[in-house]
Symmetry: C2
Subunit: 240 residues, 2 copies
């Protein structure tokens, strides 16, 4: 950076905005938030916000409730907008036109649009993934095609300015990748060191041969029926 | 399980309790909480709670605030008590006698006592790690010896009924290990599948040779001084 004034510095701060809505999976949001928050502590020029409809506690799929820091009206224009996922409440949010409008409006103001887990179904339902290569939680990945996206089974998938991660914990890997793109690999490695992200899954990696998504088709259908009972057209589109 | 009545079933529910206090690192708590919460969704007999001094929003080291589900008075006797860590606010909490008393009292009621990251410094300050092998965030690991614990550089360390994880993200690995101990490896693998914990750090594992903790000694000292300015005896004990 050059000898920028405080004013110039403020103008060049990149804000990473995480979208919060009721019932989400907290690790989807907290994983990448912790990565970018550490980035903002280590080097100047980055900031994080959590944006929701109101600044009040919202339930998650755990006993913990979360409170966002900003509303959609008060958040600064984000450099990156990240949408976390969840189970039935996220599937239900595919029919929440108010939230989808918030996403469309915020996406226009963002350089990068991203998601974790089934958050990509919200981007897809908002029409933001048409023709894009994208991923989601493995159980829901194939549904992306119903919205015109191209499902890809990678830990994270970048297509133009859209980046989508696999399920839940994949948001950490995606965020570290983005930090590398934004601030360079040395900084990304420092973030990794400070959050001591040196994973040692006690039973090794996932055995994808044993974890056949096909056996979960009925479970997925039940979750969709529970989430979208009042939206028969969308339900039909996703279960036919 | 035998043909237990509802009453008997309720009596055998194992509650995993996570301690919340102001300023903590949210990934420390949300990582293992998401693991145990998934366990409770997949099989009967498990429950999770988040316990704090009051059921109201508390700040974290990110823009997100968290709200616990229970107070120390209202939480059920936990099977496991897990204490997350953080940076300066956690170091300051080493001098919070009220919180340390809460931990001592809750630990007596628990079968297993655990921590993530610098949460082990709170267990240590509460006198719960004397003579125990234990770990913490790499930057603070050696301080455990000042409280009579034996620092061990492993992803997680189990010594009797005490289990302590390395920094921040290590809580996920520790929690999956505990799920394996409690419910068996097949269930632990299923939890891992559902949170899609198949980590792919984009720049590989941490390079511990390059990440010499020695170079962070002054940074650690500054954080301790900031946290414990009003507790000179404890500060002296940890920085001399």
């Amino acid at each position: 950076m050059t000898d920028s004034s405080a004013l110039r510095h403020e103008a060049t701060v990149r804000t990473i905005a995480f979208v919060q809505y009721p019932g989400l999976t907290p690790l989807d949001i907290v994983g990448p938030l912790q990565v970018f928050s550490m980035l903002s502590h280590l080097v100047p020029g980055y900031d994080t916000v959590v944006v929701g409809e109101r600044i009040e506690p919202m339930a998650t799929d755990t006993p913990l409730s979360l409170v966002p820091s900003h509303t959609f009206e008060t958040m600064p224009d984000p450099y990156a907008l990240i949408v976390p996922g969840g189970a039935v409440p996220t599937l239900a949010a595919m029919a929440d036109e108010k939230l989808l409008d918030r996403l469309r409006t915020a996406a226009v103001r963002s350089e990068i649009v991203g998601s974790v887990c089934t958050g990509s179904l919200l981007l897809a339902a908002a029409g933001l993934l048409e023709g894009r290569r994208a991923n989601s939680h493995w159980m829901y990945r194939s549904l992306l095609a119903r919205f015109g996206a191209i499902p890809v089974a990678e830990r994270w998938v970048q297509d133009g300015n859209v980046i989508t991660a696999a399920g839940v914990s994949a948001g950490i890997d995606m965020a570290l990748h983005l930090v590398g793109e934004l601030a360079g690999q040395d900084i990304a490695r420092k973030v990794q060191l400070f959050i001591e992200y040196d994973p040692k899954p006690p039973f090794g990696p996932i055995d994808w041969e044993a974890a056949d998504p096909g056996q979960y088709t009925s479970r997925r259908r039940e979750s969709l029926q529970q989430a979208l009972a009042n939206y028969p057209a969308l339900l039909e589109r996703l279960t036919s």
